[in-house]
Symmetry: C2
Subunit: 199 residues, 2 copies
DNA sequence: TGTACATCAGTGAACGCGCGTTCACTGATGTAC
DNA sequence: TGTACATCAGTGAACGCGCGTTCACTGATGTAC
């Protein structure tokens, strides 16, 4: 112990953010305790307040970072130089791996209800992240439509795809252990529909 | 006080269920305290355990009752004798009133994340309720398709509509105060898509 | 039908527990000279 | 470059608080005769 270098402090802050991201997704913001996530980050509880003013402050940072991370991944799928595209993205997003690894997945689905139940800064971070998804989906649909659709149509397609994708994921997780066949069916049906809707 | 009649006890149990239904939807199962909901029901905390073994036991009862109630409402929309139908249902479901009255709305959207974060009995109640929605949607789509579609296609349509409807509602609630225009846009776009998809 | 007693629903204080947050302390890092 | 001191990140005990749950008590209801 004793005073740490700036680099060590920054690393600790990142460790807290990562641990919180995992626990918030699995147990919800309210269901994850600061004690537990500080242990995950390799520290004890007291140090938390050297990095964040409050748990709410942490939640805002986690929402921002989670969306920033996932949008980088989405950009990789849509990068013209590396032709993995929306079809592949939907297949991976609506895959069982993503459903079952709730602690590392997309914040759009894992944190959607926590957003509405928390303060305005948290909600703003969620809304910004959602717009990030929508603008990327719209760009991808636009590229495929080759000018055949209006901007309004493209925007609606993006909203519909995003809603269906997030809905299928939260539903698939909600029934995963009690009705595993239904859970798989939700993912498969919606994946088929999204891939068909693009053309 | 003193011992109550069987009718009075049954009424108290119902009052607890109703209060819990409202608070669970707004704050989540974990976020709603037994003290508060017993006050809502007009009693003090001690009486709770004359009606339920535990909070988890209450959660199961609330999930079951909430889905039973909403499926009755859905059946009214689809009743051939009273020709309100799926179009009207989607319009009401995806309306601002439903989004803003989170404490009385559909459990499919309000409780979807709580389902995955709780025990298997809660999840089973959610899964049963979800199947109730899907079978009614399928019947309505089947009636409209006039035999032009296979049972598998009908089932997929029901799953896609349900996913999109639930996704739009949780998203609209997640961004309601931070991005009200986006919230409205989500509801409107998805409503248009669901009504178009029926034909 | 009337009486005596057992049953049990609601009360409210109390339980242990974990939560978010605070704080005096330690000691290595950063800084001034 | 070396020394003296101020800074501050992490520690772990402690805070007040609200949680889910328990329990002794009260007294009206239900029941046996």
């Amino acid at each position: 112990m004793g005073r740490l270098t700036k680099e060590a402090k920054a690393q600790n802050r990142q460790n807290i953010l990562d641990a919180a991201g995992r626990r918030f997704r699995t147990a919800g913001v309210d269901g994850a305790g600061i004690d537990d996530l500080m242990k995950d980050a390799g520290m004890t509880r007291g140090g938390f307040y050297n990095h964040f003013d409050s748990k709410e402050d942490l939640a805002v940072a986690v929402f921002q970072q989670s969306f920033a991370d996932v949008l980088v991944v989405l950009d990789e799928y849509l990068d013209p130089a590396d032709p993995r595209d929306l079809d592949t993205f939907f297949a991976d997003y609506l895959g069982r791996d993503h459903r079952d690894s709730a602690d590392g997945g997309c914040p759009s689905a894992a944190l959607v209800v926590d957003s509405g139940r928390h303060g305005s800064a948290v909600q703003q971070a969620y809304a910004d992240g959602a717009e990030g998804f929508l603008s990327r989906f719209a760009a991808a649909f636009e590229a495929r439509s080759a000018g055949r659709r209006s901007a309004a149509e493209i925007r609606e397609m993006a909203i519909q795809a995003f809603s269906e994708m997030v809905g299928a994921m939260v539903l698939a997780r909600a029934v995963r252990t009690a009705a595993p066949e239904l859970s798989d069916e939700l993912l498969n049906s919606v994946q088929r529909n999204l891939q068909a809707a693009e053309s």
